[in-house]
Amino acid sequence: MTTETIAGTSVEVDEEGFLVDPSVWTEEMAVPLAAEVGLEALNEDHWTVIKFCRNDYFEKGESPTLRRVSVETGVPTKQLFELFPKKPAKKMSYVAGVPKPKGCV
């Protein structure tokens, strides 16, 4: 575990850079976190996904999988790959400050 400064706040992150405690995340952290994974700006659709990931994590106790995000938000799988290129499941959780999803599908 290491400490990093994101949006002026000192937070603990794991080896892959995910926040150790999702509750310390603030909206201001999303943009710098997104920049770390190659996203220059966040649009409305990014925010829909980010907010869903957070709500679902706190409701269910685990990060949603790609399919769950698509089914529940109505954002098609194809678009999720456009919003968070290459590794959408990992990237959306990273930006949302929740752990990497554990589910298989």
């Binding site: 190659g38 098609p76 799988t77 790959f81 990992k90 589910g103 599908v105």
Partner: protein, 159 residues
């Protein structure tokens, strides 16, 4: 900058030769996991594996306890009419309970994630099938040689 970009050009090719639920799902789940990691993924459906992409059959793949002692049913009971149907129903329900899509939706999803789906030329000829018999997401009917060519440098799984 992308901290998750490892610069890897990993590529995965999966040969799907079985048309049962327990034969098909492992391939579909592995393909899904690979695609979510940004890995170029190809699936080559051959022999009964073609059922997984055949429009008329993909929604009705069976699982049978016949010759499958892992399912824990006495082998004298397994072939009784209705037993396989019941086993199939039960497994489908379990899969659905895990929020895992059924086969047609799964194939659609893999396609949306960027998977390449191929049908085996020889099996297609042997079973008198046509490209129209397959789900729209199937890219083409190709030969074993074509597949070997396109899988150059890939990691290969035979299921």
């Amino acid at each position: 900058m992308d901290k998750f970009d490892t610069g890897s050009d990993r590529k995965l090719c999966i040969i799907v030769s079985k048309g049962t639920l327990d034969g098909a799902y492992p391939s579909l789940i592995m393909a899904n996991a690979a695609l979510a990691e940004g890995i170029e993924t190809h699936l080559f459906f051959t022999f009964w594996g073609l059922d997984v992409i055949t429009k008329k059959k993909m929604g009705h793949l069976p699982v049978t306890p016949v010759g499958n002692p892992s399912m824990g049913m006495p082998q004298a009971v397994a072939p009784v009419p209705g037993v396989s149907t019941m086993a199939t129903k039960m497994m489908k329900k379990k899969i659905e309970g895990l929020d895992v899509p059924d086969v047609p939706e799964f194939i659609e999803m893999l396609h949306d994630m960027g998977a390449y789906l191929w049908a085996c030329r020889m099996t297609v000829d042997m079973l008198d099938l046509k490209i129209e018999d397959f789900h729209e997401s199937v890219k083409d009917v190709i030969s074993a040689g074509d597949f070997i060519e396109l899988s150059e440098g890939a990691q290969l799984l035979f299921t």
